[in-house]
C-alpha cells in the first residue's frame, strides 16, 4: 500500500523558519524564492514524492500547513 499526499501552505501566515523542511522525510518541501506580505520566504511543496505523513504540519509553529493524503494502488 502506498500513499500520496500534498500539502497546502497558508503563505501569508508562514514565517519561513524551515523547521518543516528539516523534518520532511521525502525532501518534498523547500522555501520559495518568492516572499509573502511580511517579507518571509514561505514554504512550498516541491516534486511529487510527498506521502502525506504530516511531519511538517506537526512541527510547524505557526500551524500554516494542511495535509491531504490518499491511498494509491
Amino acid at each position: 500500500m502506498a500513499f500520496k499526499g500534498i500539502i497546502e501552505v497558508d503563505t501569508q501566515r508562514c514565517k519561513g523558519c524551515s523547521v518543516c523542511v528539516a523534518n520532511c522525510p521525502t525532501h518534498s518541501i523547500r522555501l520559495s524564492s518568492k516572499v509573502n506580505g511580511k517579507g518571509y520566504n514561505y514554504a512550498e511543496m516541491v516534486g511529487d514524492a510527498c506521502i502525506g505523513c504530516s511531519n511538517c504540519a506537526v512541527v510547524c509553529p505557526d500551524s500554516v500547513i494542511t495535509v491531504y493524503r490518499v491511498k494509491v494502488q
Binding site: 499526499g5 497546502e8 523558519c17 511538517c56 495535509v67 491531504y68 490518499v70
Partner: protein, 255 residues
Amino acid sequence: MNIEDIRKPENIVYRKPALLTDNIMHYCPGCSHGTVHKIVAEVIGEMGIQEKTIGICPVGCSVFAYNYIDIDWQEAAHGRAPALATATKRLCPDKYVFTYQGDGDLASIGTAEIIHACSRGENIVVIFINNGIYGMTGGQMAPTTLLGMKTSTTPYGRDAKLNGFPLKITEMLAALDGTAYITRQSVHTAPAARKAKNAIRKAFEYSDRNIGLSFVEIVSTCNSGWKLSPVAANKWMEENMFKEYPLGDIKDVLK
C-alpha cells in the same frame, strides 16, 4: 492521480486545530511556543473540554497566549501563575486549570509559588517551557542557562563560580509528595512533538482525577536569543540541552 483529485476535504489528515484562533502569532519564526500552543489546542479540542478549561498566562514571551487559544484565560503577575491557578481550581473544582510558564517565570521569580503549589498537591497542570534564557527581554541569563552558554549578561559563558549551576527544577519538584506526574519532553521533531502531545493529554487527564499536580517541561529553543537559525537551534538543543535536561518521564504515581 493529479493534485486536484487529492485536494478534497475528505482527504485532509492534518490541519490547524479549530481551537487555535486566526491571529498571527507574535513569536519569532521557528519558536517552540507556537508548536506547544498548537499541541495544547489539539489536546483540549480532542478531550472536548473547551468550555471547562481555564488557562493562566505567565509574563514572558507567552504573555499573549490568550490571543491564540480560544478558551478562558487569566493573566497572572510575574511568576504567580501557580498561585492564581490554585485559587481558580479551588473555586471551580470541576474545571480543568493549567498554567503555561517559561523558565524566567517559573524557575526564577516564581520558584516559591511553583514549589508550594506542588507541595500542596493542587490538581492543576503546569506546562513549563524551558529554553535556558530570558527570551522576551533580550536574551539574559536565566537560572536554567547551561554552564558555558553565552547570553547577553554572560558574554563569556556562564561560570559556575560567579553565576552558580543550572537549576534542575523539574527533578526538584519530582521529590515533592504533592506531584502526580512529572515529565520532560521536546517539540523539535515530529515524533518528539507527538510524544509531548501524549504527555500533555495525560497531564490533563490526571488533573481531573484529584491525585496531585501534573508538570510537563518542554525543552525548547530560543533561536533569537541563542543567535542561531531555527534549524541550527534545534540541533544545538539536541547536542547540548538534552545532556543537562534528559527527556522522558521522571515521576508517575499511577505506574
